[in-house]
Symmetry: C2
Subunit: 503 residues, 2 copies
């Protein structure tokens, strides 16, 4: 095989069910073209619908600057797909012989430096790669539903898999926002599904024995251990339970329980009665809501939880934070490479530095964007401006910062959930210690003015906690923008005070 794996510009999908659709949505969102292949032509409409459906939640996962979205194409010709793409992800039904046959066929059409990965949840890579051409570029890459929101992907190599293929796959999955977990040894079910299976078998027993309903068993997790598992696994949690002596104490104290007959071991028979209980139980939980409705709720909380975990830089939140750092870094590099707003060449107009939209959690009981969120968006615009003139993390770490000392906002039109917005920014004034900015927030659909924000920032020495002159280079860049914009008419809101108009 080629020493270097390819840069992935186009992802090929083999099979387009729920998992294939999830892969497509994730890859497209992070700027990768997707060529989906399925022998059934009706799957084209299906996968386009799945991508569209995923985009609602996915678009709220991060507001860091993304590359342009990828392009989605479809073909019923598996071989043609294999010849055109840089990475192939297989998602066909979970049958060993079928997967072996299709993977072998496709492998003869794909160049030997094209990685081929299988989404199988339980089959072993050594079995799957048996009849392939260049089997060293094959691995299992097992994702979790919804693939477009959950970062986990288990990577498992077979006997013939090369370490380079595992590394290259790991880089690609990281690129599209995932957390690749390399599994040391191939075993049926990999790691995660073995753990899920153990829990699932015990659930079936408890329902079968009439001890609990499916809803009660779900509650027994979501109000307790499930909250912990969103960011720490059983091992670290039990380490905490052991107090200061940690895991060793825990094993000593609770080890003997392992021999208690708490759990039933063999799986129960899936009798008609058990099936009915499971089905009736989950229907009661669904409580008239469609699968689509529950999926939307699941997606909403999965996005929100990851955003919360990002603040603590833990679990999926650390994946998201690392992704955003790369995106900002790349965006900064692009801005530095181009002329950029800060260069002052194109800033005789108000600068358009921020594109965003109203996140659902910003909406108040009136169904409108909450007041304080306007100030948050203006704060983001201020940050973007300052970053572009050199006030970045390094600048702040040197003990200098710009603090808001006064703000004035006017509200002019409504913005509802998911409304796309942009902010334009003017530098109204600069002196050695002060910056006077004026932001306008507009709706993207009709450019209507939604709100204005007028702000005074004071430059401070954050160690001494007092006003101090800003870096001359920063001031020069701000003055260049100020001068370029000086000919623009003064906005009516500038210099206005809050008061009751005569009615």
């Amino acid at each position: 095989m080629a020493k270097m794996m390819r840069q992935v510009k186009t992802l090929g999908l083999l099979g387009t069910g729920v998992i294939g659709g999830g892969w497509a949505a994730r890859a497209l969102h992070f700027g990768i073209d997707v060529l989906a292949a399925d022998v059934k032509p009706e799957m084209e409409a299906w996968i386009r619908g799945a991508v569209e459906n995923a985009e609602g939640a996915l678009s709220r996962l991060t507001f860091a600057p993304l590359p342009p979205k990828g392009k989605l194409s479809f073909t019923t010709d598996l071989a043609a797909m294999a010849r055109q793409v840089d990475f192939i992800q297989e998602n066909i039904p979970e049958q060993l012989e079928l997967k072996q046959r299709v993977l072998a066929e496709v492998s003869h059409h794909a160049a030997s430096d094209v990685i081929i990965a299988s989404s199988t949840s339980g089959l072993m890579p050594s079995d799957l790669q048996r009849d392939m051409a260049a089997p060293e570029r094959f691995l299992v890459a097992h994702p979790f539903n919804p693939v477009y929101l959950l970062p986990l992907v288990e990577l498992v190599g077979g006997n013939a898999t090369s370490p380079e293929a595992l590394d290259a796959a790991s880089r690609f999955f990281t690129e599209i926002g995932m957390h690749p977990l390399k599994v040391r040894r191939e075993i049926p079910g990999h790691l995660t599904d073995r753990l899920q299976e153990a829990l699932w078998r015990e659930i079936l027993h408890l329902v079968n024995d009439g001890v609990a309903t499916t809803g009660e068993l779900d509650d027994s997790i979501v109000y307790g251990p499930g909250l912990r598992w969103a960011a720490m696994g059983t091992n670290l949690i039990y380490h905490l339970a052991g107090g200061e002596p940690g895991m060793r104490h825990m094993l000593k104290q609770f080890g003997p329980c392992l021999k208690w007959p708490w759990t039933k071991l063999e799986a129960p028979e899936l009798t008609e009665q058990l099936i009915d209980r499971m089905v009736e139980g989950t229907q009661a939980q669904a409580n008239g809501r469609s699968i689509r409705e529950i999926e939307r709720l699941r997606d909403d909380y999965l996005v929100a939880i990851q955003q919360v975990l990002r603040q603590y830089n833990i679990g999926a939140g650390s994946t998201l934070r690392a992704l955003e750092e790369r995106l900002y870094e790349r965006n900064g590099a692009a801005a530095r490479a181009g002329s950029g707003a800060a260069a002052g060449e194109d800033c005789a107009q108000p600068l358009r530095l921020i594109e965003t939209h109203v996140r659902p959690e910003w909406v108040d009981y009136n169904g409108h964007m909450t007041d304080s969120r306007y100030l948050q968006v203006f704060g983001d615009a201020t940050d973007a401006l300052y970053r572009s003139v050199g006030v970045d993390d390094a600048y702040r770490q040197s003990g200098r910062a710009l603090y808001a000392v006064e703000s004035h906002m006017t509200h002019n039109a409504e913005a509802q959930a998911l409304e796309p917005l942009y902010v334009t920014t003017r530098v109204v004034g600069v002196d050695e210690k002060r910056v006077h900015l004026f932001h306008c927030l507009h709706r993207r659909r009709d450019d209507a003015l939604v709100a204005t924000g007028e702000h005074i920032y004071l430059h401070v020495n954050s160690t001494a906690k007092k006003a101090a002159p800003m870096d001359p280079a920063v001031r020069a860049k701000l003055e260049k923008i100020h001068t370029a914009q000086a000919a623009l008419p003064a906005p009516v809101q500038v210099g206005r005070h809050v008061g009751m108009p005569r009615s």
Copy 2:
């Protein structure tokens, strides 16, 4: 036994370890006095430390108005405790004979309408209540660590337990913010620990067989299924995985996997080698952080996740939301019963409507409260004022609302993470469609002025989306406050515009 169980004013704790400390912190926070009993006098200092430690996270769980904190007392006399309290929660070591003996003894000192509950994670209530006086008031109430943050409590009755005792216990635990889950039948390990145990046994096997480290196994959950489990259990998740035909399809498709040899059944021997691997693995995960440090991180994300889930009214978020609705309702009732700010009797001073503090997630990269959060706090103060003059959910549902149209803020001093704050509010002006408010945000420790907010609100018909006169009763209440405050000196910030002072 008495027909009516007591109103719980004082909770008695039997045993004061990690679980006892967690119960104490939760009960005290929600206004219940606690009398902790432990034969070891040194546990008094321990439990006071545990309560103090929990308060950091607990105080951020909800900002709804809480009753005054409960009072914590300690005794080494178990019988004296039993005679003075309204509800006893037992948390002594997990040994059947010990628990039987202590529970029996205590039960002879507690009146028969005092519920006695055990925190046991695995023992059966019928065994525990065997030698008790009035065994019908005994039940298992099994909580999860940290007890002060996780809402789940499993309630299990034994042969002798009365349904009334289960109901009364359920009401008490709901009162202190928990989600009581009644377990239909007593089995060793109740429900949750049977599920956790199944997963734990499989983890031990995978470590024992050298397939994965403890850290990899934790990652296999927290980056994938663990995120889902924060709000939906395996059953509802598998219902979704089945697509529109739901659980029935899922069982048909994946049922056969149950017979695959994915999981090992008997527990592994806890050899020295396995213990070492578990300990070394978790130490690598802890990565030099103390138990206390990891606990703090765990508490932070548990609080933040529950606040996120509240927005979606799902799982632990629905418990939190229901709790807050009760707290606001009760507070409203108390305000209506007393004279209240809105009655205008004591409002010749600025109204002090909001007490809060800087939540850690409000802090920006400078280590200070983010600008937009000031506006959020002022918005909360405005809401509190409006609620007190009759602008509540019912008013808004009638199609009337007050929208912010203009705001002006000044920043005067710093507020850092966890800084306690309060807001004072003045009604600067009112006419039939407009309200002009002025808020001051102060630090509690030194009353320093942190920020001011000046706001104009427009009263609108939210259906017609145009300005409309407010309800005369609402206007009258606002005017009464305005008149009472008219003699106060005008704040210098009122009517000020944003601009660059000459330096």
